[in-house]
């Protein structure tokens, strides 16, 4: 009797589970999940947005909508500190664990693909990215294969306080004139935020073989210009939080930073906030590193189809509009109309940016050039010597 009851209960549970699993397939999703496939089953996702920040708010809004539209899906969201997200994912995914999908910039994409930690998605996404900018798709490719669902562009631009700077500088000369006239600028003193100046002065980091050629032209000129900016009163901060605070508090008039802080800057400065591309230099437009935020599917994902469907729902036109409106992020989709001029400015900056390479060689850019930035800006090295030393160190590490 007892055995029969257990058997009946088991059969009932199996049937209920099976029916539940199908429910999401038949329910049209308000966020586009159905068009891409069913968002069903248990799906674990990781993100590395700041707690309480506008990007986390945007994601939470979208997840809430998707949960409502897909009641059979059990979506677990875990926030991981940004400085640990890649290491944590790599360690856990390597052991067969980790999330089904996670979002991050394409900083570690090449390394993770070479470690076989991410799933190639070409066949799964075939025909589903027709409205995505080619730069966005290319940003998530390694050796010709696609390893993520593109979502946002990330590149730095010039924020300015309209009360202090009614018209933003278009050229490096205009910026210098402004500083000499008493306007103020704070720059994050690191190899990422300052990358864009090199292109404006004709610099090129690597040749086609991955050899560093920054010591040949442009880079040293860019740093000579930055030293002149410092002499004219520009502040250089190694602490990004401190740089942010000084701009948000109105203590400085301009700062170079990315769209991930746009929502937070807006809260403090409101209508006074303006965004423009980094001023163009004598050799052309500035070329900040353009990264692509995507959703990556873990090679060990337990629910691959559910994860891909969720990624597509989080990157469809409606979702990208939410990211743009709430967080000020730049959509990779061409069918999303950006009404906010600030986001539009970031979109322009991304378009002229330098697509972040996914090569092994580029991985050895950060430490030598980070040192070079510190040495040059702190006056411990001339721009020429600093760049030559960094380039030599990069080539030594890359055996070039």
């Amino acid at each position: 009797m007892k055995l029969r009851a257990i058997t009946l209960l088991t059969v009932a549970l199996v049937l209920a589970a099976a029916c539940g699993g199908q429910g999401g397939t038949n329910t049209p999703s308000a966020t586009g999940g159905t068009a891409a496939g069913a968002i069903t089953g248990n799906i674990t996702l990781w993100h590395a947005y700041g707690t309480g920040g506008s990007e986390e708010t945007a994601l939470n809004q979208l997840i809430d909508k998707i949960r409502t539209a897909n009641p059979s899906a059990k979506i677990t969201v875990l926030q991981v500190p940004f400085d640990q997200v890649f290491n944590k994912f790599q360690t856990e995914a390597a052991a067969g664990g980790g999330p089904d999908l996670f979002t991050a910039p394409n900083d570690e994409l090449g390394n993770e693909v070479r470690a076989n930690l991410l799933m190639a998605l070409d066949s799964k996404l075939s025909g589903k990215l027709s409205n995505v900018a080619q730069l966005g798709v290319d940003g998530l490719k390694v050796d010709g294969k696609l390893y993520g669902v593109p979502m946002l562009f990330k590149a730095v631009a010039l924020y300015y306080n309209k009360d202090k700077v009614p018209t933003p500088p278009k050229t490096t000369d205009e910026l210098m004139t402004m500083l000499k006239a008493g306007k103020t600028l704070v720059q994050n003193e690191n190899a990422y935020h300052m990358f864009g100046w090199s292109t404006a002065f004709g610099g090129n980091l690597m040749d086609s073989s991955g050899k560093c050629v920054a010591d040949q032209a442009g880079w040293a000129d860019a740093f000579t210009y930055n030293l002149a900016l410092k002499q004219a009163g520009a502040k250089f901060e190694t602490d990004g939080g401190r740089a942010d605070t000084s701009f948000r508090a109105g203590q400085v008039d301009m700062i170079i930073n990315g769209p991930w802080v746009l929502g937070d800057y807006k809260k403090d400065l409101g209508a006074k906030l303006g965004v423009a591309p980094i001023p163009a230099g004598p050799k052309g437009k500035a070329g900040p590193l353009t990264g692509v935020d995507g959703w990556y599917i873990n090679q060990s994902a337990k629910n691959v189809d559910g994860a891909i469907a969720l990624a597509l729902a989080l990157t469809n036109a409606d979702a990208q509009k939410v990211y743009a409106d709430v967080a000020g992020d730049v959509p990779v989709r061409t069918d999303v109309t950006v009404s906010d001029p600030l986001v539009k400015a970031f979109s322009d900056a991304s378009a002229t940016g330098f697509a972040r390479p996914q090569t092994v060689e580029f991985g050895n850019y950060w430490t030598p050039f980070g040192d070079a930035v510190t040495k040059i800006i702190e006056g411990k090295s001339t721009p020429q010597a600093g760049i030559a030393e960094a380039c030599a160190a990069m080539n030594k590490a890359n055996k070039k």
Binding site: G96, R114, A115, L117, Q299, T367, D371, E378, K396
Partner: protein
């Protein structure tokens, strides 16, 4: 009744009882669970680390179904001591080790000296609010290092930090303008003392770690002071010994058995003090305050060079082992004095 039962139990179950399991087997059975757990979480990782140190283990080998790494023999160990690490520009193992040792000894000397002095003061007969002082002084130990490091990092902030603001306030009293106290504690590259190649961030770290480290030494010294018989001091007074003579001839020698092991513990902890350095200076400026463990962390966390980092870890273990044995030999810490 109870004593009878114990006697009976003792006599009826001799060693190597013929009726039950041998006593040695019982003992092994008792420690088996702990041994298995230790084997899984300690011994196996250590053995695996030794294996990794002889390979070029990297991110590509991390996945469970990944190909095995290449065996490179002693290459990692050789690369480290010959400064052949190309991913870190200007890498100098010996320079870093020298700084690590200097950092360790300079800190522990302060910890022990201040710890003993404050313990002696707290031990003064008739001192009021002694319990309150002891409670206050233990605070640095109970606050998590991460919190301590974050607070001190903020206190050293150039523009808004309490240290510079406090110095400016004091300077204001004697007519020095606040501009003179715009001190870049963490970022300044030039050494503050000409001829001594230590950046200002070293001194910031030293101040922080002195605050963090002396209370432990005070607790140890206080305990040891309680065990020193007053008769020694009374006899010394009768013989005409002065206060300093009593301190150096009685107090210090009798504190030694307790303080040397504490100092050795302090040496090991300070040698590997990752949290503080990573959170306060980040090893900067230009890696001038990096120690071995922070560098090993970078090799793993930033470069994903697990094989190299494993070799680094083994070097660290060997250095600490030598340091401990050497200190033990020099100070005769394990000898008894009382």
């Amino acid at each position: 009744m109870a004593s009878f039962a114990i006697t009976e139990a003792a006599t009826s179950a001799p060693a190597g009882s013929r009726r039950g399991a041998p006593r040695w087997l019982t003992a092994y059975l008792y420690i088996l669970p702990a041994t298995m757990i230790m084997a899984a979480i300690t011994y196996w990782p250590i053995l695996f680390q030794v294996y990794m140190s002889f390979t070029d283990y990297g991110l590509r080998n991390l996945r469970f179904d990944a190909p095995a790494p290449n065996f490179v023999g002693l290459q990692n160990f050789i690369d480290l001591i010959t400064n052949g690490i190309t991913v870190i520009p200007n890498f100098s193992f010996w320079g870093m080790l020298s700084f690590n040792l200097f950092w360790t000894f300079s800190n522990v000397i302060f910890h022990v000296t201040i710890g003993i002095l404050i313990a002696v003061v707290l031990n003064t007969p008739g001192l009021r609010f002694r319990g309150f002082y002891r409670a206050i002084f233990i605070l640095p130990i109970v606050v998590p290092t991460l919190v301590v490091a974050t607070v001190w990092r903020n206190m050293f902030d150039t523009d808004y930090g309490a240290i510079n603001q406090g110095l400016a306030a004091i300077g204001g009293i004697v007519g020095i303008t606040p501009d003179h106290f715009h001190i870049r504690w963490i970022d300044q590259i030039d050494p503050p003392i000409p001829g001594i190649p230590l950046p200002l961030s070293y001194f910031a770290l030293l101040i922080t770690n002195i605050w963090l480290g002396w209370p432990f030494m005070t607790i140890v010294a206080t305990g040891a002071l309680q065990s020193i018989s007053k008769e020694y001091y009374e006899a010394a007074s009768i013989d005409g010994a002065s206060g300093p003579q009593q301190f150096f001839r009685i107090t210090l020698p009798l504190l030694r058995p307790a303080m040397i092991p504490a100092a050795m513990y302090g040496l090991i902890v300070t040698f590997n003090l990752f949290n503080l350095i990573y959170m306060v200076s980040g090893g900067g400026p230009l890696r001038q305050t990096e120690i071995l463990v922070t560098t090993a962390f970078r090799l793993v966390n930033e470069q994903r060079l697990y094989g190299l980092a494993a070799a680094f870890g083994i070097y660290t273990m060997i250095i600490l082992l030598v340091l401990t044995l050497l200190t033990n030999r020099i100070t005769k810490a394990t000898e008894s004095y009382v």
